[in-house]
């Protein structure tokens, strides 16, 4: 019975997230359109509201082209690895008090593990397509993800130190529902490092080198078409959502808000996640792309030392305060 109930929850979460992903693309096109003084999609439905549905149906019915010299099994599996890894990490996110599928003790580490697994999908897509643009895109993504995963992990150590737990619900509870309790204030260095690494980890502008259109056609997904191409997009948007949720949980106090909302407890959580999504899109409309050596220099020479300094500072301050108080 319990398993059945869990399955129902999983299906509901899946549907909600998929709808969210579809409308996140709409959201992005509309915002970027208005920022560039265009209208964005307008034709399908009122102000283009049905555009994501039309896109989804179109990509389902398109021909699935597989290049002749591609490594077939890996070519077919790569987008699924990406999507599965991203969807799995949704299981540990607490959307509101008690609204979590798997309340495990190592929630934060689980998210890291799944995001590093998702990079395999990208790398293998690049390799198995047997095309130089895809391959270069895959290689770039690999180097980028390895370097920025370190700074992302280290930037959250401060949060772990303050809350004393790796369980995501416990981290939210540790921040309390006061405005000053949010970890963005004591962990401002950590938040800065996390925010930059979050952009790099999800391959977003200004770090979208793996799919740099002007240099690499479309990077690792150049050879993909139809549904498999759409799956890469879904994985990217779910990745954005997971990272935005982690930022919300670790730095903005999760589901806590100025006042509790009846009937729909995750309201504040969703609003905060959408704030981050908006910033993602805003950056995409505003910033130019980094050069590859600048990207590596920023990751290794600025972010990782900053994150290490943050850990030492946080640990020292916490020791002083616990001894004094």
């Amino acid at each position: 019975m319990d398993i059945l109930l869990l399955l129902v929850w999983i299906v509901i979460l899946f549907i909600v997230v998929m709808l969210h992903v579809a409308y996140a693309t709409y959201f992005e096109r509309k915002i970027i359109g208005h920022m560039q003084v265009r209208l964005g999609p307008m034709r399908v439905g009122w102000h283009g509201l049905l555009q994501p549905i039309a896109d989804g149906i179109k990509s389902f019915f398109k021909e699935d082209i597989i290049p002749e010299n591609a490594d077939r099994p890996i070519f077919l599996a790569a987008p699924i690895i990406c999507l599965a890894a991203m969807l799995t990490s949704l299981a540990v996110l607490p959307f509101a008090k008690g609204w979590v599928l798997a309340d495990i003790d190592i929630g934060l580490l689980f998210i890291f593990a799944m995001s590093s697994l998702a990079s395999y999908g990208v790398v293998l897509a690049g390799w198995s397509s047997n095309s130089k643009y895809s391959f270069l895109g895959g290689m770039r993504s690999m180097a980028q993800v390895i370097s920025y995963e370190i700074s992302m992990g280290l930037s959250l150590v401060g949060v772990m130190l303050l809350s004393g737990s790796l369980n995501l619900s416990a981290i939210v509870e540790a921040q309390g529902d006061r405005f000053l309790g949010m970890y963005i204030l004591p962990q401002c260095i950590g938040f800065f490092v996390f925010f930059v690494s979050m952009l790099a980890e999800t391959n977003r502008v200004p770090f979208d080198l793996p799919e740099a259109e002007t240099e690499l056609v479309s990077g690792y997904c150049t050879e993909y078409s139809g549904m498999r191409y759409a799956i890469f997009f879904m994985a990217e948007y779910i990745g954005m959502m997971v990272m935005a949720s982690i930022a919300t949980i670790c730095f903005l106090g999760g589901w806590h808000g100025p006042f509790p909302v009846p009937f729909f407890p995750p309201l504040w959580f969703v609003l905060k996640v959408y704030l981050f999504m908006f910033v993602f899109i805003w950056l995409r409309a505003t910033l130019p792309r980094y050069r590859y050596d600048q990207l590596m220099g920023l990751g290794w020479k600025v972010l990782i030392p900053l994150a290490l300094v943050n850990i030492v500072l946080t640990a020292c301050l916490k020791a002083v305060f616990t001894l004094g108080g």
Binding site: I74, L109, F110, A113, S116, V123, W127, M139, A143, I146
Partner: protein
């Protein structure tokens, strides 16, 4: 019952993927098999309630080390297979030796005796969470070995750095004499 089935599945998959990893022709496929193997190792740790170890196994081994192997494979670009002269001339002789070794290893299993039970029973670990238990042990009772391991890793790190620097600087730059070659200096030398 369920945990025994899970153990059996993980053990079987570890053996199968391990065999495939050394017998497949394409090196990238081999690395992928090793990835599958690491995942099932993580599954085995899960049956032992070692959650922290599971996460670290996937983050470090699958997420970092294996990706580096892939990187090397891609950069080396193996066009043709390497053929080494066999150490043992006859393949069957080698197989017999391998089976003999396996029998020897299995024969020593009955000699294995359980050690004494420590403070951390399964119940105690479940209560304190695995991460906390591991951290407490590591930073109190096992502090010295932990620090020594850290020092050895640091030495390896510096060694790697020195090797990489020397290759980059080239002969006439004298990078090996200069402890801290400057970035712009190297650019001029190239």
């Amino acid at each position: 019952m369920f945990s025994q089935l899970f153990f059996g599945y993980c053990a079987l998959m570890i053996i199968v993927s391990g065999l495939l990893a050394i017998s497949l022709r394409n090196p990238v496929h081999c690395v992928l098999m090793v990835l599958v193997l690491f995942f099932h190792m993580a599954g085995l740790y899960l049956t032992l309630n070692a959650e922290f170890l599971v996460a670290v196994q996937i983050i470090v081994y699958a997420g970092a080390i294996l990706v580096l192997y892939l990187f090397v494979l891609f950069l080396v670009n193996l066009r043709e297979e390497l053929h080494l002269t066999a150490f043992v001339p006859n393949a069957w002789l080698g197989r017999i030796i391998a089976v003999g070794l396996a029998v020897g290893l299995i024969a020593t299993i009955p000699a294995f005796t359980l050690g004494e039970k420590g403070v951390w029973t399964v119940k105690a670990i479940a209560e304190a969470t695995h991460t906390k238990a591991l951290g407490q042990e590591m930073y109190t009772d096992c502090l010295l070995p932990f620090e020594i391991a850290g020092l050895i890793l640091l030495v390896a790190l510096i060694g790697g750095l020195v090797l990489a620097r020397r290759d980059e600087g080239g002969g006439e730059c004298g990078a090996s004499d200069d402890p801290e070659p400057h970035g712009d200096h190297k650019e001029v030398c190239r």
